[in-house]
């Protein structure tokens, strides 16, 4: 961090910035080029192998790098985190289940767990429900692609960006000043003279943070469910109609069962995202004012307070919470693969 001694001669600064950019892109593309060069070389050498060596060599080359990276990056760290969670905060002494006891009995952490549970139930249900309604409605409209694109758009925005967008929407000012936050202005327009500071009013603030997640995820739910609805074979709806099923009944007894798997997959996918996401809470409230969630608490325990034991325990709890969701998805997937 060098502070320019001349009061911001923008040209010089910009020049430095461009030079910096060239060096960085050089590093970046150099890495890519090196990576591809090594691969080509390995392919060339291994491709010349014949006879009994060829198969094992092919397996090693194709699977080796990925398996190695997964072992070093996920499998071993997973085991190590479990191990660390059973030791004290600087990892020097075995303490058994003490960290887990701390997590479930400390009042502040209990609040975190309750918040996380709220997030886990409300945000996915809201996003998936709204997504399903939109998927059903948007289908017959003219220019549906435009509506879909616009509702889907937040999916491309980072959660940090989304948080800043909504921080601005929720910005509030005291009475007598003109409001610059959209929500406060709406409240004023509806006759509420002095709307509260949204981010400070518990428990409302947690729900307002969830709204950001719903805003981001609804488009995803809509797009996937809309595709599922379109994929229902015409013969099925046709047959049901010949049997005399009308619109709403047809929806309940044909459409819903046909897309049930997809709904569940979308629901669990959004749940997993919700559970792991800490960006929103971190950026908007920093976990203060009773809005803290598990993922963010885990981060601050591990990397702000350096309590590897407690952080590890929270990470394990997070893992155990995600496990049933993903297990269910895997079972579904196995069924589908079996059908193939």
């Amino acid at each position: 961090m060098s502070v320019p001694d001349t009061p911001s001669s923008a040209a010089a600064l910009a020049g430095g910035a461009w030079g910096d950019a060239v060096i960085k892109f050089g590093n970046s593309f150099g890495a890519v080029a090196g990576f591809l060069a090594i691969l080509l070389l390995v392919f060339f050498v291994a491709g010349r192998a014949r006879g009994r060596l060829a198969r094992p060599l092919a397996i090693a080359v194709f699977l080796g790098p990925a398996v190695l990276l997964l072992l070093v990056g996920l499998v071993v760290p997973l085991l190590r985190t479990v191990y660390l969670s059973l030791r004290n905060d600087d990892g020097t002494r075995f303490v058994g289940g003490e960290n887990y006891g701390w997590a479930f009995t400390t009042e502040s952490v209990q609040e975190v767990l309750v918040n996380t549970l709220l997030w886990l139930v409300i945000a996915p249900l809201a996003a998936t429900g709204l997504g399903l309604v939109l998927a059903l409605l948007v289908d017959r409209m003219r220019g549906q692609a435009v509506y879909k694109s616009l509702i889907f758009m937040p999916m491309a925005i980072s959660l940090v960006g989304a948080s800043i967008i909504f921080k601005f929407v929720y910005e509030s000012r005291g009475p007598g000043q003109s409001q610059i936050g959209l929500l406060s202005q709406l409240a004023v327009a509806l006759g509420w003279d002095d709307p509260p500071n949204w981010m400070l009013s518990q428990p409302l603030n947690t729900f307002l943070l969830m709204a950001v997640m719903v805003w981001v995820q609804t488009g995803f739910a809509m797009v996937v469910l809309s595709a599922a609805i379109k994929a229902i074979p015409d013969e099925v709806t046709e047959a049901a109609r010949l049997d005399g099923a009308g619109g709403v009944r047809l929806f309940w007894y044909v459409t819903v069962p046909m897309i049930r798997t997809t709904v569940v997959v979308v629901l669990t996918t959004v749940m997993i995202t919700t559970l792991k996401a800490f960006d929103i809470v971190r950026t908007m409230t920093g976990g203060n004012f009773g809005t803290q969630v598990l993922a963010n608490e885990m981060y601050s325990q591990s990397f702000v307070q350096f309590n590897t034991g407690r952080g590890g325990a929270l990470a394990v709890i997070l893992f155990l919470a995600v496990l049933p969701l993903v297990a269910y998805n895997i079972v579904q997937l196995r069924k589908e693969r079996g059908v193939r």
Binding site: A21, F29, A58, F62, L70, L137, T283, M284
Partner: protein, 310 residues
Amino acid sequence: MSVPTTGSARQGNPVRKAFSSPLASVFVIAVTVLWTIPTLGLLVTSLRPKQDVTADGWWNAFLHPDLGLGNYHTVLFEGGSGVSTGLMPFLVNSLAISIPATLFPLVLAAMAAYGLAWVKFRGSDTVFFVVFALQVVPIQMALIPLLRLFSGGAHLGSLTLIPPVDLKGSYAPVWLAHTMFALPLAVFLLHNFIAQLPRDLMEAAVVDGASHFKIFRSIVLPLCTPALASFAIFQFLWVWNDLLVALTFAGGTPEVAPMTVRLAQLAGSFGGRWELLTAGAFLSIVVPLIVFFSLQRYFVRGLLAGSVKG
């Protein structure tokens, strides 16, 4: 992988009829407007001069428009109150991190997916499901040990397995971490696609004496371009938008940290400087938005591959 859209069924489908009324259209339009307004507000605010932003709400800009790109220049090259550097280096970092972190897992996962699908060996199904199941692992679980590995190496007793590497101030840890974390999903998605390639085509190539490497290069990669593109977009957006991995492995310096990290910092320190914060935020979302709107079809295809039978 493509979702069939049937033109003839459109007209007479009673489910769609039941759900299509003027009221339904009003609802969809209302949601669309509601979904678009926050981002519009960000854009408008970032174009307004400082005094206007603090004076009244951004919707007033339509009454007395006074818009310009001044905030962007300030936030890119000058910084602002108590911030010494602009966002420019962080923007460069975001790109320099995202491109390799998209390409590495893409190539490695395509190789692994091919190996699992076509170089059959005992236990390859098990390997596939273990890799798939690793999606379960929240990144949070791998952070502490991985950070220690990068800074301290790995030791078994007194035996050094992996020597500590001094990667401070370089992108390598961020690239590596992103690559590792992306592999489970990438292998799964690409495997679904690669496993469906026509069997006779593959067998013909083997009969012709082509090695697995040649088949991979000259048959699999060209045929899988759509799937590769889908995942590449997905991963690029994921890396560009990621905060957790960057925060852990890149720190907060202008040498390595990407936009998201800087913005998260600024959200605290720029408290009242909405004109700068909004400009910074819009800068960070403009690249993903361009990618998204120009390549939306591939992106959606990638999404559907994971959850809807194609």
